[in-house]
């Protein structure tokens, strides 16, 4: 395989990674997944850079990649801290929860509402409580929402 063909293959994989990341970034609503998709875009870029570096027989591409990875790690740190803070405030990882700051008078985007199932007033058997009710970890309940 010639160098050019190899380069093209690498670049193709890189661009696919980039495109996948981009698509994921656009279509996913989970904050963490969105961030991971952005990371995937960066990986695509890194792969391209390395491919070009190999092609040109030059190490500055690789050098840039190292810095990209480093910076991405920093960003991951920030991102996770941020996501944690967001999650604490809204109790959810959905990005659509964060549309309160917008142009005045603009209606918020609301998901298709799932109609609440008609609750029939079922008559539950009333039993005499037996034994001890298990202790509920409130924290655990909270987490399960996430």
């Amino acid at each position: 395989m010639s160098e050019t063909a190899l380069l093209q293959n690498y670049l193709l994989v890189g661009s696919i990674l980039f495109a996948l990341g981009l698509t994921g970034f656009l279509i996913r609503r989970n904050l963490i997944v969105m961030f991971l998709c952005a990371e995937m875009m960066l990986q695509g870029v890194s792969l391209s850079l390395i491919a070009w570096g190999r092609y040109h027989n030059d190490w500055s591409g690789q050098m840039l990649v190292i810095f990209i990875i480093t910076v991405a790690a920093c960003e991951a740190g920030i991102a996770l801290a941020l996501v944690l803070a967001l999650c604490r405030k809204s109790g959810s990882l959905d990005i659509v929860n964060w549309q309160n700051v917008r142009e005045e008078g603009r209606m918020p985007y609301i998901d298709q509402e799932v109609p609440a199932e008609a609750m029939e007033s079922e008559a539950w058997p009333t039993l005499t409580p037996a034994g001890i009710e298990p202790a509920t970890d409130q924290q655990e309940l909270y987490r399960s929402n996430v």
């Binding site: 990005i95 659509v96 918020p108």
Partner: protein
Amino acid sequence: MSDNLIILIPFFPLLAAILIAILGPKLLKENSHYVTVLAFAASFVCSLMLFFSVQGQVVEEGTSFESVTTLWTWAAVDNAMIDADGHSVPFLIDVTLRSDALTSIMLCMVTFIATLVAIFGAGYMHGDRGYWRFFAYVSLFVFSMTMLVSVSNFLLLFVFWEAVGLCSYLLIGFWYHKPEASAAGKKAFLVNRVGDFGFALAIFLIWINYGTLNFHDYVVDGQVIIPGVFGQMRLGGALPYVQGGMATAICLLLMLGACGKSAQFPLHVWLPDAMEGPTPVSALIHAATMVTAGVYMVTRCTPLFHASPDAQVTVACIGGFTALLAGLIALTQHDLKRVLAYSTVSQLGYMFLALGTGSLAGIVAGMFHLFTHAFFKALLFLGSGSVMHAMGNVIDMRRFGGLRHLMPWTFRTFLVGCLALAGIFPFAGFWSKDAILASVHDRAYPGAHSHDSQDSEHDADHDADQDADDHATHSVALLSADHAGSNQADSYTNIYVWLYRSACFTAFLTAFYTFRAFFLTFYGPQVIPDESGHHAHESPPMMWIPLAILAIFAFLIGFVSELDHKFAHLLTSTPSLAFAGMHDTMQPGGFHMDIAISSSIIAVLGIALAAFLYLGHQREVEAISKLKLVAPLRALSLNKFYLDEIYTWAVVKPLEFLGIIYFWLDRWLVDGLVNLIGKVPVALGSGFRYLQTGLLPFYSLSMVVAMLILLFLGQVLWGGG
């Protein structure tokens, strides 16, 4: 010396105005009048010193004297105009003050009256909420007025012409909460606009025709660079004055300006309404000083008027007609101040009549009347102010009467004023009115008087010839123009005959209405309106002492000035009056015994008739006014010949109608368009706002789509091309 004086005279009032404007509301308050009175007194002292200095120099230097002081250059444009000869003319406006006889006389008169009025005003305005504002305005007015009479340039004259108009407006509307007062202020301002418009046009014409607006020659190193309109070059005959139609146009436009400011027909309607202002203001501005600015201006422009006999006869006619008209209106007015206001209009008409004779005697007589009139009319107005003060601001003569015992000082001084106005020997009005009648008479019947003035005329002719010899440049054209002018003027003699008759009749009217007002106010049973309350007593000394001073002057000033023809001699040394062309006309100084006697008889007759009708019961008046013949005439006079109504229907209503149309056009068409244009960005904005959903996925999608479009276009248009 006189340089400093001429600067100090307007400086003091300006300083006072600024000080009061800054410190008045918080610091000076009820003490504001001290600043004003002090400043005016200082100005008056300076004016007197200037006057004597000028008088001394006139004696030294002979016939014509002026001295100019240039403060700074206000505007300077090179090559502002190419004149008829192809020379480029610079437009140069220096702030230049001049001192000559005319200016110094005016300055003395203005500052003297202003000082007394300020003292009176301190008493009259006592307790008013706008006390400091009053004195600030009055100070500003006196500054403007002193500047008006001392500037040496048409443009600056116009500036201060407007400035006194502004002060007048401010002071007429002083009690602006009162609708009549603010309406009167507006009326004065708008009517004056008409006149000012004419004045401005006249200034444009003067600039085009003379290439300068300066009165004096612009001299650098003894070399005349720009000959002034009334500079020695032109007055000496080295340069001609514009003749013919253009001269008439300039003069008529100037006269239009003078009509506005000096309340001459047809622009006199504002002055009676201006009586809404505080009475000291009426005395100072609307009787003694500002309204005479037109007379001053026409006197200053004598050489221009001299070039146009048509304009002179127009001035005379306007003056004579206004005098008669205002006299007739004054006959029936009930309002004391209105009577005096119409009397002022009438007397100003007299002055213009005298100026319109075009003779030196007439002009001096007009200025002389201006001078004496200032004293006794200020006196009368302040007297009426004193009455008004005592009567609780009631000024309708039907509602009070018989005040002579209640207000002895006001009564006495008012009597002096009335006698002066009626023209009774030896009061001031007698001398000046006689001089006017004499000059008009001489103009109407040339050669009728062949006594003492004949010699002096010969002398004058002789002088003129000598001057002509001295000035090698004395042009033939000027002589022939003079000659032609005098020939043409002769055809107007008939008009002057009628003017003389009407002036005599007006003198009768003057005496009659003056004493009608006097008798109604001070004689008869004592009637006091309810409004007066505890005020119904003699005014405090602060108010009657200025009255007394003015009364002394109203008594003496005519006699003293006429003594040895001092006034005439001094005044004729003014450059505008002391020029070759003027020497050909009749010299002042003739005292005509026959005219004096006949006018005195007329005046006494007027007083007698007034006494007959208005002393005691007024049965005769009622009887007369019920006559079928008289009633409509009386209504005509009472309603001021319906002039206000005519103006309302002929001018105001059509303009209002146009105004309404334009308002609607502006409101709906123009504003509509502008608002529509203004709405476009806002509408655009609402569109863009729609994109700000607050949704992060939407934002990122937008960015990515934009990115993809850019990449695609980049490939096609940049890379592929």
